[in-house]
């Protein structure tokens, strides 16, 4: 049958021109896996997106095609999205005072100030 398309590839198909409905069954596009990309040895694996796959092995193959085909990549991880445990986005306020913890930050300690004060006092006495 000639579909009379400009595309020779389409003309080779036997298109069903009946207009019948085609329906994809729920679950037919498999499960979702999160993908983590390592750009070079020694770097962290970073989350870059996800792929649909029936199992982890194929998820890796698809991830290579989707996220490793262009830029530098030395390794990929995949994990089922369902296995990711995360905090509720609405609970982000529990991290709110992280920025105020100067006691666990180098900037929270003014050693030179004390040394200079001590030296100044020693000189004056």
């Amino acid at each position: 049958m000639n579909n009379q398309s400009l595309d020779p590839r389409v003309n080779r198909l036997k298109l069903n021109a009946s207009g019948e409905a085609v329906t994809v069954q729920e679950g037919e596009n498999w499960n979702v896996f999160e993908v983590f990309h390592q750009e070079k040895r020694g770097a962290h694996h970073e989350h870059v997106g996800c792929v649909h796959a029936p199992n982890a092995q194929l998820a890796l193959i698809f991830a290579k095609e989707q996220f490793g085909r262009r830029k530098k990549c030395v390794n990929l991880w995949v994990v089922r999205s369902a296995d990711i445990l995360a905090f509720d986005a609405e609970d982000e306020d529990m991290f709110a005072n992280n920025g105020e913890k100067t006691y666990r930050d180098a900037s929270g300690f003014k050693v030179m100030e004390k040394i200079n004060k001590f030296k100044k006092a020693a000189k004056e006495s």
Binding site: E26, P54, R80, S81
Partner: protein, 381 residues
């Protein structure tokens, strides 16, 4: 959880010997089994979308917006709108107005379909690309477009609509895709015009949208824009090669420009004066620029590049008003635009029939690998 949320968390921690059971929640992986909890999805399915043009959509029915706003918790809505006006992103687990969710699904889904269907007109010329390098680049580009479709489907899935439901709505015609892909690529010069100008128009739109409010869509678009810059460059290169070539080549590219100009002018959607786009969508940073503003930005950058090559455009009115910075042009035929969107274009049927063929003939592979007992989940981010 808002202002008093902080106290609540601490209270819970102090009262509890075990930290994890109190605060940890497996909440960001929405189970598709619960999909019906988004009441708006049924509305979505019933809503025959009007514009799939450009990657732009307009909501023709504002009544729904108002009804649904009434149902949104006003306190949460204020908090949500404040977050957006501060320039913060919305993430999948966040509370969002049902209308925001519905419009984003429409927008991202139509964008995804456009990438998938957009691969077809250009794919037409893979077997006959002039030369090995052009063929390699075209295959790579078409593969990128399919990859972009996957990224976008994933972003839409985080909002609670399954990939299968989106594909079914594409196949049934309920969900639209960009109108330009309902036209045929008649010659190799058409491929160069698509690769140069349609991709340029898409980039104008995608860069605007990448500054929107929904995190997963922005992340997908950042990746897409990076890859599109290669598409634009290879399209421009192939276009200029013809435009700087023999008289026959120049004639071919001029002919392609003449045929594609109207679909390109349609690309960004109807003029602002006729469009019913909602201020709300602008405020929520779902729609980032008006149709006319994007069209003007496109004309401003690309018309000079066409004229530079001594080519013409089939619109005698096309001219920049230096005083206002706005381009004047003849209105393209907007009735034709609507006819094509609703199935009357030269290639609508072929595009969907090819998509259906692919779904039907690939089914046995997908089913053979499918595990029916697998618990399906949505992407996390």
């Amino acid at each position: 959880m808002k202002t008093n949320g902080l106290n609540m968390v601490y209270y819970k921690v102090r009262k509890s010997n075990s930290f994890a059971p109190v605060i940890l929640k497996v909440s960001t992986t929405a189970d598709f089994g619960d999909r019906t909890k988004f009441s708006n999805l049924q509305d979505y399915q019933n809503n025959h979308s009007m514009y799939g043009g450009g990657y732009i959509f307009d909501e023709p029915n504002n009544r729904q917006l108002k009804e649904e706003q009434i149902h949104d918790d006003p306190e949460k809505l204020t908090e949500f709108e404040d977050r957006i006006s501060r320039g913060e992103k919305i993430e999948p687990g966040d509370w969002m107005p049902s209308e925001y969710r519905r419009q984003l699904i429409r927008l991202i889904e139509q964008h995804a379909h456009s990438e998938i269907i957009g691969a077809l007109p250009e794919g037409t010329w893979i077997t006959r690309a002039p030369g090995f390098k052009r063929k390699l680049a075209l295959i790579a580009k078409v593969q990128d477009e399919i990859g972009h479709g996957q990224l976008l489907y994933n972003a839409a899935e985080t909002l609670g609509k399954s990939r299968e439901a989106m594909i079914n709505d594409l196949l049934s015609g309920k969900s639209k895709y960009s109108n330009v892909f309902n036209y045929p690529a008649e010659t190799w010069a058409d491929v160069t015009v698509i690769g140069f100008l349609i991709d340029a128009a898409a980039i104008v739109n995608q860069i605007a949208n990448s500054k929107g409010s929904y995190g997963p869509y922005c992340r997908a678009l950042e990746r897409i824009c990076y890859e599109e810059s290669f598409h634009l460059k290879q399209g421009h290169d192939a276009f200029v090669e013809l435009a700087a070539g023999t008289p026959a080549q120049r004639e071919m590219v001029q002919d392609a420009l003449n045929r594609w100009w109207q679909p390109i002018m349609h690309f960004f959607g109807p003029p602002d004066k006729n469009s019913t786009h909602s201020e709300k969508l602008m405020q929520w940073k779902v729609k980032m620029a008006s149709n006319d503003d994007m069209r003007n930005q496109f004309l401003d950058t690309y018309v000079p590049k066409i004229w530079d090559m001594g080519l013409t455009l089939p619109d005698e009115k096309l001219k920049k008003d230096e005083a206002t910075g706005k381009w004047d042009y003849s209105d393209p035929d907007w009735d034709l635009f609507k006819i094509v969107i609703n199935g009357g274009g030269p290639c609508n049927k072929e595009r969907l029939d090819v998509r259906k063929w692919a779904e039907e003939h690939g089914r046995w592979v997908r089913k053979a690998l499918m595990n029916p007992k697998d618990k399906i989940s949505a992407p996390v981010a």
